[in-house]
Amino acid sequence: MAGHGPKTHFKNPAVRWLDSRLPIVSMMNDQAIVFPTPKNLNYMWTFGAILTFMLVTMIVTGITLAMHYAANTAIAFDQVEKIMRDVNFGWLLRYIHAVGASMFFFAVYMHIARGLYYGSYKAPREVLWMLGVIILILMMATAFMGYVLPWGQMSGWGATVITNLFSAIPLVGPSITEWLWGGFAVDNATLNRFFALHYLLPFVIAGVVILHIWALHVAGNNNPTGVSVKSSKDTVPFSPYLTIKDGFAIVIFMILYAWFVFYVPNYLGHPDNYIQFNPLVTPAHIVPEWYLLPFYAMLRAIPDKLGGVIVMFASLLILLVIPWLDTSRVRSARYRPMFKIAFWIWVVTCIALGYLGAMPAEGIYVILARIFTLYYFGFFLILMPVLGIIETPKPLPNSIADDVLAKSKKKHADVHTGSGAGTPEGAAAAPKKD
């Protein structure tokens, strides 16, 4: 980022004094205020800010919950009920945190889907994308360990199933599983280390997020056209344009979030987790939280222990290499008619796998899960490389500014041929502030 000394001159002598010694004010000014941002970003680009908001929310509610929680199998379950009943606003903090996990994953999946659709993973943003994949994997580990902490039936049995994934590794598998447990089953040692790691990992995520934003600010934002920024006519300063837009999106997002927290806080959870963990009885239907269901479906689709585990982890790790699997030089799916169809089928596939992951692992469900698993991987391994070669992209706009102007001219024309009401101010105003 900065590192080359202050570039901006500040009127305030105190700010100038600080900035000449630690150019943090210049850095904030360069990266968060005047930072040039493509002027055509749509609302799918606000999920980055929403995710930052979610990370902060989860850390703040998490730290306050940790003030009342105890990672001991004898009291953990009761301690959570104490938070719900005795602690001032404990119910609110816990519901914000529990629903927050779902909202966080909803936002991150939107963010990833946007990246896939508009080709944000392609050069020069490969490292930015890979850091994002690492954040996703860290988020999943954190969410899984957090779900163990209330020590309900789903906590204990979820932990048992997921840790047993590692037992599929040939030769060392059982030793690794015992090492993860700190014993011969999911017990106190497991709970204690999961709590320690659940507290640690969000800060690791925050660290990787800083790298993610750093990488973003080197390459700059991608945009709906996928065409690189060519001149200052293509951009607007981050503040106030994007700060206000992101802020507005966060407010809308918070309304949805608050609806869950205040009206259906347990809708996304599982009632079995309000029964204390019993190591002698497994619940009839053991399912992970909704955001992990697609991966769970892929695990169960493979009729082999090691194979299932490999497929499940591969479904995440494959994301790391898609910058090199996609052979098309056009970034945005807007100009890739075939890729666009393939992408939307892939989205349907993910939703279908999510549904199948919640269904019993038998009969038609398994067969469907296999078909969708095939498409999930086929999209990355076959369609991405092949489509880039056989597809004829639509003509790209010369620049972001050209694209925006073409759109507003069209709107201008529509207004005049339409009812005639309203002045086409937008058309004239849009390119004014360059």
Partner: protein
Amino acid sequence: MATTETNDGHGEAHGETRRDFLYIATGAVAAVGIGSIAWPFIDQMNPDAASLALASTSVDISALGEGESMTVMWRGKPVFIRKRTPTEVEEAKEVPLSELRDTDARNPNIGTGEATDANRAVQGREDLLVMIGVCTHLGCIPLGQAGDFDGWFCPCHGSHYDTAGRIRRGPAPENLAIPPYSFPDESTLVVG
């Protein structure tokens, strides 16, 4: 906003005025929102319902003999209950108010009052003294029947309390506090 109505007849003010209003209104809503969401995060650290439920302690004091003390827990703190000897009571009564460092009785059971021995002891039972056993300096527990005034002595920083638990020498600013209490019957003391 008064200017708005007089501007152009369309409810439109000059750009700056209207925008300024919107900025301030938005900022005000944001400030209220942040304040109201901050409160739960602050209040969660206050004593919870379970802690408040421990706010009263019942003690059987029938076995307490003259010159004997007992200590009970109330809200996580020690409460000294002492049946004083007549000598101790006399000693406390003889001290003129002018010699006291803190002339407030610090006894919520009588409201406000001067720190006379009668105001410090249980009403109608001048031999009985009930006090929170926490030094008013920095919270250590004073030793009983010690110090230069035959009452309590705090070993941490050398505060001396007399036989009525009143601060007489040392850094502590106040007399030992007296908790709210009641006697449902002769032999039962309820603290809190």
